[in-house]
Amino acid sequence: MEMQDDRTLNRIHTRSDSTSLQNPGLMEEECPRAVKPEKPVKRPLFKSTRRRRMLQSGVFGLFRAAAALNAAALVIIVGFLVVNGWRAINWTFLTQAPTDSMTKGGIMPCIMGTIMLSVGAMVVAFPWGIASAVYLHEYARPGAGLRIIRLGIGNLAGVPSVVFGLFGLAFFVTWCKMGVSVVSGILTLGVLILPVIIGTAEEALRAVPATYREASLALGATKWQTIYRVVLPAAFPTMLTGSILGISRAAGETAAIMFTAAVFFTRHLPTSPLDPVMALPYHIYVLATAGTNIEATRPLQYGSAVVLITLVFGMNMIAIYYRAKMRKVRR
């Protein structure tokens, strides 16, 4: 309402100004007519500025609550697990193999297995992802071809992990006759994290200023020389951040390794790439749902979950911190 009044007043003012110059006598008559309320403009939702402000603070409060709820969810999940699990973690837990049909002992083989699988997946996906990103960002020209490739990568990113598991089972385990093994798991996980690597590598390439390339090309270097000697070295640190995220993604993945690499129990660490392994996420799942004594092994389950979270969050924190630092340097 206030605003409306302001506007009407303004109009009177300008009008009287213009009329006063031409015909001062009419002024008195014009004014009252203009003040007469026009048909009120329909304001569908809000009447007064105060109500509008109140609505705004109400809605913003809701927004804040939504953001806070996310933070709360993270704190609650991690908090509960840590509170229940930290007592289970000690040196024996981290360095010994499970004993007494999985009801006692440690989780060392699972930690080793998870590290093997995720680092292996990274080794597979890193060069492949970077080469793809180089093509997408440095070579490809806009058009149908590029569109299809991007669509393919987007779809690959959207494939559910259990479907990757099925694919790994049908292709690597059965068709390639690799069996349920480290190498099958590594390849399945490698394909799974490929879109992550491509995405971060492309972002890294995008952050390299065009002037670098132009300077190199102007000096007579070919495109490949420019990419190899100038662009890649400049983008490499950021690409490494992406690779850390890829490792952490692979480390937490369960459904993709269930049929391809992980087993509930092996007596030994794998001695060849064709041996199956134990892995942390699968270990948690099996202990929690099908272990020999689900209630009695709760501390072990909590402990394993805490170790897994620590691994994954540790890697993510490094990546987040590193990326923030890189961005600051660039500015």
């Binding site: 509008r52 705004q56 809605v59 913003f60 809701l62 927004f63 804040r64 939504a66 953001a67 709820l69 996310n70 933070a71 993270l74 999940i77 509960f80 697990l81 492949w128 080469a131 793809s132 093509y135 070579y139 490739i149 669509l151 393919g152 987007g154 779809n155 690959l156 494939v159 559910p160 992990s161 259990v162 598991g165 099925l166 694919f167 089972l169 049908a170 292709f171 490929l194 491509i198 070919t222 495109k223 995220l245 952490s248 993604r249 937490g252 993945e253 369960t254 459904a255 269930m258 996420p281 948690i284 799942y285 929690a288 389950q301 909590y302 979950a305 897994l308 994954v312 993510n316 924190m317």
Partner: protein, 297 residues
């Protein structure tokens, strides 16, 4: 010399093209292997009987392979998680890009990223050992492992996806639009609601679809938390068995190369087609309604 240099450049270019295209090859191979392993089941049941049959008893004799209960369970879990995750995700995104101060953003953004990084098995474990007993004790349910619990856990898995893509969309709304709206006397909230959100609607829709796609394919959470009963749910507090849970739970006991094995692969095909459709729609929206600048709105 010059020629060979050019040749080399061309070869290198081709090498990169092949590498980049290989992700399509992988996608094609996933499709191929899922189909070849899944197809034999359709010698036993018709496609219609498979999709709409309401009996899933793969191990009884004679076995029944009707995945309708699993399909409904997947859709129900996804929709309910969407009801929770979409408002929360979009509101958090709006908060981050429109309201939060730089300092608050520096804290909330990593929190959302960490939420995305939580392994699904950990969320499933949390839902199983903490949320389920809580629901059971405080809300008088027969079991805490049910559709509602699974949806709640899934929601917190898809919020980060929805939030980060929406945030990008909201962030890319041109500044002039906001300023024009504020200059006309709109409050900040009116500007967000009437100008910024409509302008970023295509991006937000993409975000929602991709979030849903993540939820429908998520395995560990529904495997551990949804309860596992292959029945059409009567209420949101009934235990269910969504498609990914069925695959993950039964693959270990399905005899290799048997009908059950093929049926699980056929479920994989259905799941794959679902997520692929989601992704194609999201891509279509993103391309069709590309936000470029104020002029295109």
């Amino acid at each position: 010399m010059a020629v060979s240099r050019q040749m080399r450049e061309r070869l290198i270019r081709r090498f990169f093209l092949v590498t980049a295209s290989s992700s399509i090859l992988v996608l094609a191979m996933i499709l191929l292997f899922l189909f070849t392993e899944g197809a034999p089941i359709f010698r036993m049941v018709s496609v219609k009987g498979f999709l709409f049959g309401s009996e899933w008893y793969p191990t009884s004799s004679p076995p029944d392979f009707g995945i309708f209960p699993l399909l409904i369970a997947s859709i129900a879990v996804t929709l309910l998680s969407g009801v929770i995750a979409v408002p929360l995700g979009v509101m958090t995104a709006a908060f981050l890009s429109e309201i939060a101060s730089a300092g608050v953003r520096e804290i909330v953004k990593p929190v959302v990223e960490l939420l995305a990084a939580l392994p699904s098995v950990v969320i499933g474990f949390f839902g199983m050992v903490i949320v389920a007993p809580f629901l059971q004790d405080h809300f008088d349910m027969s079991t805490g492992l049910n559709l509602f619990n699974a949806s709640l856990m899934l929601a917190f898995m898809s919020i980060p996806t929805i939030c980060s893509i929406s945030e990008d969309a909201i962030f890319s709304v041109p500044r002039d639009l906001r300023e024009a709206s504020l200059a006309l006397g709109a409050t900040q909230w009116e500007t967000i609601f009437r100008v910024v959100l409509p302008a970023s609607l295509s991006g937000i829709s993409t975000a929602v679809i991709l979030g849903m796609s993540r939820a429908i394919g998520e395995t560990m959470v529904v495997l551990m938390v949804a309860g596992g009963a292959a029945l059409i749910p009567g209420s949101i507090f009934d235990p269910v068995r969504p498609m990914p849970a069925s695959i993950a739970a039964e693959m270990a006991e399905a005899p290799f190369g048997g009908a059950h094995y093929h049926a699980l692969f056929a479920i994989g095909v259905v799941l794959f087609l679902f997520t692929m459709a989601f992704n194609l729609v999201a891509d279509h929206i993103a391309v069709k309604h590309k936000q470029v600048g104020a002029a295109t709105l």
